[in-house]
Symmetry: C2
């Protein structure tokens, strides 16, 4: 089994710990800083990503194989193992003892180019721009937003930027997009939940920034969004479940009170 390792620049020491633990047990295809312009070979079985969610996102965009996050960053919705669980990880890799957490992603077309996004596609005005008119069109109807920006997110992205904007928490296997406006006028602050079978066109009355999973691409006044035929796969320990993760990371749905209040 060939294994690749990407790490975040400032987690090089942590990444070396991972590399050392794996190098005698597996064939290490590469060991690279994720910010480098490096395209891994395609016969890698799994790529480990040492860093936070940003590093995992960057890794998922470079490879087609499953990705396993080793948490060194702060939040870690995408991470599977902690740095002090390397022994367990080696054991689990040998027997492929994982949950394959498959997530669907967005396909975005803009300016004749195609992209995919795991969390979200954001249209956002510059600071010096005036408030923008957005038009959302699909088979199910048409909606207008007079706002600083719009976020189209997957269920995976519902715990990212959309959550910060007031959106709901969506379980990862919900087949729906979520559109959440950024600073909308006229109290239209709610998210719109749309079947993932829809094909959505979003246009703006003037060009705005297109930001995919946090990466600024270019300015445009039109994007098309639909569900991508491709999935991504995150490897998780067998003990993983989303509800525990959301409780630990943001406290949503957590039992906070002590005894005497149990259900």
């Amino acid at each position: 089994m060939k294994i690749g390792i990407f790490y975040r620049t400032d987690y090089f020491k942590a990444a070396e710990v991972v590399y050392s633990a794996l190098k005698d047990e597996f064939e290490i295809s590469f060991f690279k800083d994720s910010s480098e312009n490096f395209q891994p070979e395609s016969n890698v079985s799994v790529v480990l990503s040492v860093g936070g969610d940003g590093t995992v996102l960057r890794t998922l965009k470079k490879v087609q194989c499953p990705v396993l996050g080793i948490k060194a960053g702060r939040l870690g919705f995408f991470s599977g193992y902690l740095l002090n669980e390397i022994d367990k990880l080696v054991k689990d890799l040998k027997s492929w003892n994982f949950i394959e957490d498959k997530r669907w992603v967005l396909r975005i077309e803009s300016e004749g180019l195609n992209y995919f996004a795991i969390n979200d596609a954001v249209l956002l005005k510059n600071v010096e721009q005036k408030i923008v008119d957005f038009l959302v069109e699909m088979k199910d109807g048409t909606f207008y937003y007079h706002a600083d920006g719009l976020v189209v997110s997957t269920p995976t992205g519902s715990s990212a930027y959309a959550l910060a904007l007031g959106g709901p928490i969506m379980l990862p296997n919900v087949e729906a997009f979520e559109i959440t406006p950024i600073a909308p006028q006229f109290l239209a602050t709610r998210s719109l939940v749309i079947p993932s079978s829809e094909k959505i066109r979003i246009s703006a009355n003037e060009p705005v920034n297109l930001v995919l999973d946090g990466d600024i691409l270019f300015r445009t006044n039109e994007i098309f969004v639909k569900k991508c035929t491709r999935n991504i796969v995150l490897l998780r320990p067998k003990t993983y479940d989303f509800s525990t993760s959301i409780k630990e990371k943001i406290g949503y749905g957590k039992l906070i009170l002590g005894n005497g209040n149990q259900v």
Copy 2:
């Protein structure tokens, strides 16, 4: 074609207008106050409901056939025609010129009894009760809420009570439940969006009121919710679409500014 008519008590005069317009053209199976304890015969093709959304909800619970709302109430998410469109309605009935707006509903089991709900199932404490501990359990995980109540809604119900509690707007064909807490502690104010394939158990640390589509049933500390195998069908004019309806009723996604701001 046999047609039934249910009306809200205080809309008797409006209902008489409807009855008069239809009686020479169709066989009227019944013409009844919706609050009466009356069970229609099963061979009716369509039941007209003269009143607001509450009257349509009550009508949908009494019959298995498609229901057509004639708006006399205030909001009217469920209504199809206005009282002054009776001529068009008669014409459309003759040629069955409608959109059959099929909506999926909830099946609720509690205290050994089964119910269905079109908008929502609400668990709510009495005014004199202390804040309640709710436990939501399903295959996808477990969530706790320390709150006055919990609302489980369909996409149809997302524009009803759940909206008033801060929930998102869901397009009617989204295959997801929405759980929204009422006055939750610890900032857990967001809605949780759950695949409609889930089977949900909700328990409380003490009995609370079970309210289905606004009707108070009884007090319980356990309900089971899943998608019902049964659908309901609302008849709409061919011009109907949900996005227009939500724009007109609550202004969400509406183009509010005048010229110069069009997209």
